[in-house]
């Protein structure tokens, strides 16, 4: 037996019985061979799905996991193939990845960076995962991305919206399909100008942590460029549950627009309070008072209930899109689970497929080869129109949706309506503006 065959656990799983006959203890160094971490050697390959299963984002995590299970089914040739049929690259055969059956392990990020890293490390060290994907916050994404860089596996980010993930904290082994704060601002601003005019006075409430800062910054810059004035920007603690003391002073400030740079439970509560205080029924400066939520998700919209009606925001993807890719995905997801997928589910499903496709095209699971195959990769048929995985920062550039809370929902899922599909060119930016250093890819062992 060559040295290369002995150490990888994937092989040991399958070859252990045969090897047991030899029974002689073999001491193996875990690095310096095989070329890269956790190179799959048997007939299977293991992917690690690291999503929040406990804590406030557990429902989003559950939806991500559903999407991954669907993706695995499709990759292994089961189901109706979903987006594999509409994907512009035809490298995937439905016979696993490079002929190896796809298996997966799951873990709980708890939306805490420590727990997420512990879970990711157990997947890499114990289960031999060759790729880690998932997550529902930027803190977790940045932490796990750095870990994957060190360990030498690919990280395909889940839902993470902060500029930092592919900005100042970008890493060569990490890739993000989801959009970011900058794109939200750039996509929203023209729509806001068209609907609400160019002489608005905005009041920002911002979640007091990194994602909040980048979102506030993005929305401020792009709205101020159109002529809006920012009256005030107040930071609210992440752990805040009752936003009344932040909402109440808004009317006195002379502002006529409220921007809620909040996500998840924060957004549900702050929006509920804002509507309770009757802000939306008021007139200020002779204009109807308006509320804006830069980042929307259907799960949040569901949590906020009727309060979202008529409120603008942006989103990465929505199930009501009518392109072939989206329709195929909604059909296979809806048939399997009985309800339409969320944007978190969509981005995770797409990430899994993109990874598998890149491996097929590269002909290897080596993270450097996979990274090279993803860099600069242009594709279509995944629900967001023609998309580019930019080589400079590993960020996807694609159309961004501007949406509005629907006034008369027809079903319990029909909460948002698409106002505008902002073309990718309009949200593209210079990769240098956020700093950071991609480094070079690390194949690990």
């Amino acid at each position: 037996m060559t040295k290369l065959n002995l150490t990888r656990r994937g092989l040991i799983k399958t070859g252990a019985v045969a090897g047991a006959g030899l029974a002689a203890p073999q001491l193996l160094l875990a690095d310096g061979h095989a070329g890269f971490t956790n190179a799959p050697t048997g007939s299977t390959v293991t992917l690690g799905f690291n999503v929040p299963q406990t804590g406030p984002y557990a429902d989003e995590g559950a939806d991500e996991l559903r999407a991954y299970e669907l993706a695995v089914e499709h990759l292994n040739g089961g189901g109706d193939g979903g987006m594999m049929n509409t994907f512009s690259s035809k490298a995937l055969q439905g016979n696993g990845i490079l002929g190896k059956k796809v298996e997966y392990v799951t873990g709980d990020t708890q939306t805490k960076s420590d727990a997420a890293r512990a879970s990711a490390r157990s997947m890499i060290e114990k289960d031999g995962a060759v790729m880690i994907t998932g997550g529902s916050s930027s803190g977790v994404a940045v932490a796990v991305q750095a870990l994957c860089q060190e360990a030498g596996v690919i990280f395909m980010a889940g839902l993470t919206h902060s500029n930092d993930t592919t900005g100042k904290d970008k890493k060569a082994n990490g890739f993000r399909h989801f959009f970011n704060s900058y794109m939200s601002g750039a996509a929203l601003a023209p729509i806001l100008a068209a609907n609400y005019g160019t002489d608005r006075k905005a009041y920002h409430l911002t979640a007091d942590y990194n994602w909040g800062y980048t979102t506030e910054e993005a929305v401020r810059t792009s709205t101020e460029a159109m002529g809006w004035e920012t009256v005030a920007a107040v930071k609210t603690p992440l752990t805040q549950t009752d936003f009344s003391s932040y909402i109440a002073p808004v009317l006195q400030s002379g502002a006529d627009t409220l921007v809620l740079n909040h996500y998840g439970g924060n957004m549900v509560n702050s929006l509920t309070s804002a509507v309770q205080f009757g802000l939306r029924d008021k007139q200020v400066n002779g204009k109807d008072f308006q509320i804006i939520v830069p980042l929307y998700s259907r799960l949040m919209a569901k949590g906020a209930g009727a309060n979202v009606k008529g409120i603008f925001g942006s989103t990465n993807w929505h199930w009501s899109l009518q392109d072939e890719g989206s329709k195929a995905f909604v059909k296979s997801f809806g048939t399997k689970y009985g309800f339409p997928p969320s944007q978190a589910a969509h981005t995770c499903y797409v990430q899994a497929l993109l990874y598998a496709d890149a491996v097929e095209r590269a002909g290897s699971f080596n993270p450097c080869a996979v990274g090279a195959a993803l860099e600069g990769f242009e594709f279509d048929g995944m629900g967001n129109g023609p998309t580019l995985y930019r080589a400079e920062d590993h960020q996807c550039f694609k159309d961004v949706l501007v949406v509005k809370g629907k006034e008369n929902p027809e079903s319990e899922f029909d909460l948002l309506e698409i106002v505008e599909v902002t073309p990718a060119a309009q949200v593209t930016y210079d990769p240098a503006i956020f700093g950071g250093d991609l480094g070079t890819c690390n194949p690990g062992a």
Binding site: A30, S113, D114, R117, A118, E125, V142, A143, N442
Partner: protein, 403 residues
């Protein structure tokens, strides 16, 4: 030996043997078997066992000896972690300065917090420590972002100054090491169907834990420890005898804070990343749970409690429905779906339920924690002739590892 009596020496030796053999003991199931899911012998979890063991040990010095229930101990762990990562960013990726600095800074922080909080006792003391920890968490998450990295935390970057280290080759990720020995490097030993992983970082952490454990025995057995127990049983009487108890409680509070800082520094040494959630009140609550679960006031209890809690967190949460379906593939139709439904309620995304139920069961039926389980077990096996204190926790640990 080393100034310990026979019983304590035995205990120390047993703990040393167990920690050194942990890669074997924690991997009882062959690779690829269905039960391999329950193996805990991979570097990350082994490291966490010993590091949180140190954390709980330090907490126990305060709580077990003096009865002062700190509800903000995670703050010292967090501060230690931040100190360590800054040493790695500014000075060197060698773990020694990072660990020393984490102990020093956490100790200084403990002097301040302890000096103020120890002016009160009972629940008032608990709330004061909680208040300091929550303030540290909230500020680290928000306005201190320039120092702490906020939500996304801090990691060493290739372009950090690192005055003592030679410049990194282009594209090389900085890795924590001990004079060239990388903490993440591992050697694997394969015997038959089993694979055992020996990780450099784990052994560094384990040696540190043994030193910390030795010191904790010495403190327990010292006149100083005696004095602390006197404070626990009746602080007023101690004061009436003309002794000022404050310096003693402050001293042990600071020592305990330094243990927490050491744990924080080691966490960074093993996995170079800090986030503020490390200081959230639930993290402080966790160390209370570990200590009481294992047995407060005992030497080995807190380490066992830490092990049990981290084991549940890391192993149960990874059991998903697919895994359970694999287990019950043998069951006839109907029965298997009942079994899968039932088990699924307690693992994967519901792993919190299991931990909650186990806390309750242990607290209700084993007021002395896991150590009491060991004692009762020892009684059942009629090993009264060998009353060596060290053997009982050993039995508990073996059982714990086997569970």
């Amino acid at each position: 030996m080393l100034g310990l009596n026979k019983k304590d020496t035995n205990l120390l030796i047993i703990v040393a043997i167990m920690t050194m053999l942990a890669p074997f003991l924690l991997n009882p199931f062959p690779e690829g078997s269905a039960l391999a899911q329950f193996n805990a012998g991979y570097p990350d979890l082994m490291q966490r066992f010993v590091i949180f063991g140190i954390f709980a040990m330090g907490f126990n010095l305060l709580f077990g000896l003096t009865g002062y229930l700190s509800f903000g101990h995670a703050a010292f762990l967090g501060v230690g972690s931040y100190a360590a990562i800054w040493m790695m960013k500014l000075l060197t990726m060698n773990v020694i300065p990072a660990i020393i600095m984490s102990i020093v800074i956490a100790g200084l922080f403990a002097v301040v917090v302890g000096f103020i909080s120890l002016r009160r006792s009972g629940i008032y003391f608990s709330i004061l420590t909680l208040a300091f920890a929550q303030m540290s968490y909230a500020l680290a998450y928000s306005v201190l972002t320039p120092i702490t990295g906020g939500e996304t935390g801090l990691q060493p970057k290739p372009n950090d100054p690192r005055l003592l280290d030679p410049a990194l080759a282009d594209g090389v990720t900085p890795r924590a090491g001990l004079f060239g020995l990388e903490m993440s490097s591992s050697t694997e030993l394969s015997i038959g169907g089993w694979v055992f992983t020996f990780n450099a970082g784990y052994y560094v952490a384990a040696v540190v834990m043994l030193i910390a454990f030795y010191l904790s025995i010495r403190i327990f057995r010292s006149p100083f420890g005696m004095m602390l127990r006197a404070i626990k049983s009746n602080q007023q009487r101690v004061n009436y005898t003309g002794l000022n108890s404050k310096p003693y409680t402050l001293a042990v509070f600071v020592i305990s804070g330094m243990y927490a800082g050491l744990a924080g520094g080691l966490l960074v040494a093993m996995d170079t990343q800090v986030g503020p959630e490390r200081m959230f009140w639930t993290a402080s609550g966790e160390v209370v749970i570990m200590t009481i679960l294992g047995g407060a006031g005992t030497l080995i209890g807190p380490v066992l409690g830490a092990g049990l809690l981290k084991y549940m967190e890391n192993i149960l949460s990874k059991i998903n429905k697919g895994v359970i379906e694999g287990w019950f593939a043998w069951a006839p139709d109907g029965l298997d779906s009942v079994l899968i439904y039932t088990v699924n309620m307690f693992v994967g995304k519901q792993w919190h339920i299991t931990t909650g139920v186990i806390f309750m069961l242990v607290i209700i039926f084993l007021p002395g924690g896991l150590v009491e389980l060991g004692k009762r077990g020892a009684r059942v096996f009629r090993r009264r002739d060998r009353k060596g204190l060290g053997l009982e926790p050993d039995a508990a640990k073996q059982r714990n590892a086997a569970e």
